[in-house]
Subunit: 332 residues, 2 copies
């Protein structure tokens, strides 16, 4: 058996995540049993939801136990198969977590077609972030041509897809991102109509200037002061997709939202989403996104950390907004 | 022309409404022009939304100007008609505001059938509050039998109807009200399964005890700490109808909601409503509510203030939760 390395949860963070919350352990990789497959992970996806799994606060999914393997989606290569659906060399999407090798049941895996797009795309634009963008925007946001759509964390894995889809829908699209470089990327590369740099400290004024007709749809990835400010610019019958509240994940005190009255006055529909609720319909979104990607209609950027031992710092940076594009760890 | 009395807005309130914000003026009643009707108002409805009209903050409707007539729905009798659809003695629902007499266009009026229910019911259970309860609960809340529905301001004009409708739908229904007398009424007279007295100071514990299976639908009339606490007990896929935020109307600082993360974690749909958005479908709700009332299925309580000069105090008491049931002013 090859030598395996894993990142496990050493302690629960209080406030911001630190490297001390993680520990690297080594052991031989397990052997696949009947119906199982041994995968050598090539890519690990880092996502904001992982902060929730490190906490023991009630959430929509079980938390990671102390000493337990950090969870996460991977893309890798089958190196030993005891399942008839997989052969050595197949590229698969797997829920194998922060480790170099892992064993999964065949039914937990999905073959990925790496002939037209890089395999890593199945962790991003053609993976969970892409599904999140697609279902959240179209199913909850329901944007109509001519409406104004705002997307926070606009250069990120989800936000960048949301904005491009909304733009292709005929909407005015305004991003919110941290720093000039990200805002330039959002406007010049992704084609948004505008982008508010929240680090410039004038979010309300800048948002009003960028959205002269108000906001009809807000795809919220950040929360906190960003969302509270967006509420002040929302239009009547607006929709807010609450997809992530990354501003709150590391906070020891929850943010106090002062502009909820806008929901009443403007008859806003604010709805929380977890992409797994749509898992039976992933194929539908994948077909649509896949054809847009294959047609060259979607810009997509990856931010790569090299090596499993750097995954903790990768997550820390992601939660602080220091990544730029879909955050991945290259494992092999 | 008969002598008319009006209550006008003397000044805008800062925080709580006071009697000094109103002034009574006297003048002869106007004469109806062609197509108009002179109505002697018998009942004036007092409602929380009036607080919003007294303010010049942006809202869903125009505010009352200083020196302008306070707005409101009335029920009265036609005393002079220059419209073919109305005759002297007809009982009508009218948007005539805080005054003894008023002139309205025929198309602004609706005949009310006072043969089976008191005419005042058209300001309450068969009026705007009843419509609010019906559309909010059924169209936004969509409660299913067996689910738990929570209603704040449970003994009020809207809350009492919401709870009874939800109960008839097969739901577990828990009210939130201020004081033992209101809670007793909500449980013993209206038939709710439980009622939390928010004045007892243990809202979270009491709510959890009254809702052992969590909350699926919250019909929110109060907001502030009540809503923030409800968010902690909401179930997955819960719905929150934001109908009123009376706790905030008199506040000089908006409340800071700390539990919005529940919307994400529990995939909650929170939606603001203004009943006027459903005005084309009022007939549908009126037919349903009217038949329930006629069949003796709905309990309904009115709180009556005598005389136009006492209307300001009536609104002040309503906003402080000192009313008990639908608040009316008897004008004649």
């Amino acid at each position: 058996m090859p030598a395996n390395k894993q990142v496990v949860l050493a302690s629960r963070p209080t406030g911001a995540v630190t490297r001390e919350n993680f520990r690297i352990v080594e052991a031989p990789a397990a052997s696949p049993g009947e119906g199982e497959v041994l995968v050598r992970n090539e890519w690990l996806s880092l996502d904001p939801y992982m902060r929730g799994r490190m906490s023991d606060a009630k959430s929509y999914a079980a938390h990671v136990e102390i000493g337990g393997l950090m969870v996460g989606q991977t893309v890798g290569e089958v190196v030993e198969s005891r399942h008839p659906g997989y052969r050595n060399g197949d590229k698969v999407l797997a829920p194998l977590g922060w480790q170099l090798y892992g064993v999964a049941k065949g039914k937990e895996l999905a073959l990925v077609d790496a002939s037209r797009v890089p395999a890593s795309y199945y962790l991003g634009i053609l993976g969970m972030p892409g599904m999140t963008a697609w279902f959240g925007l179209f199913e909850i946001g329901q944007p109509k041509a001519g409406e104004t759509v705002v997307v926070s964390a606009a250069s990120g894995a989800v936000g960048s897809v949301v904005g491009q889809l909304a733009k292709q829908q005929g909407c005015r699209v305004v991003g919110i991102a941290g720093g000039r470089a990200k805002c330039d990327y959002v406007v010049n590369e992704l084609g948004f109509d505008g982008c508010v740099d929240y680090k410039a400290g004038r979010v309300l004024d800048d948002l009003r200037a960028a959205c002269p007709n108000g906001i009809d749809v807000d795809f919220e990835n950040v929360g906190g002061e960003i969302l509270d400010t967006v509420l002040r610019v929302m239009n009547q019958n607006g929709r807010i997709i609450v997809c992530g509240l990354i501003a709150e994940y590391n906070a020891t005190q929850p943010y106090g939202y002062r502009n909820l009255r806008s929901i009443l006055v403007n008859r806003i529909r604010m709805q929380g989403m977890i992409v797994f609720d749509w898992h039976k319909r992933y194929g539908e979104a994948l077909a649509d996104l896949g054809s847009r990607v294959a047609a060259g209609k979607m810009r997509y950027r990856e931010s790569v950390v090299e090596g499993l031992e750097n995954a903790p710092q990768g997550l820390i940076d992601l939660l602080a907004g220091r990544n730029f594009g879909k955050q991945l760890v290259k494992l092999a």
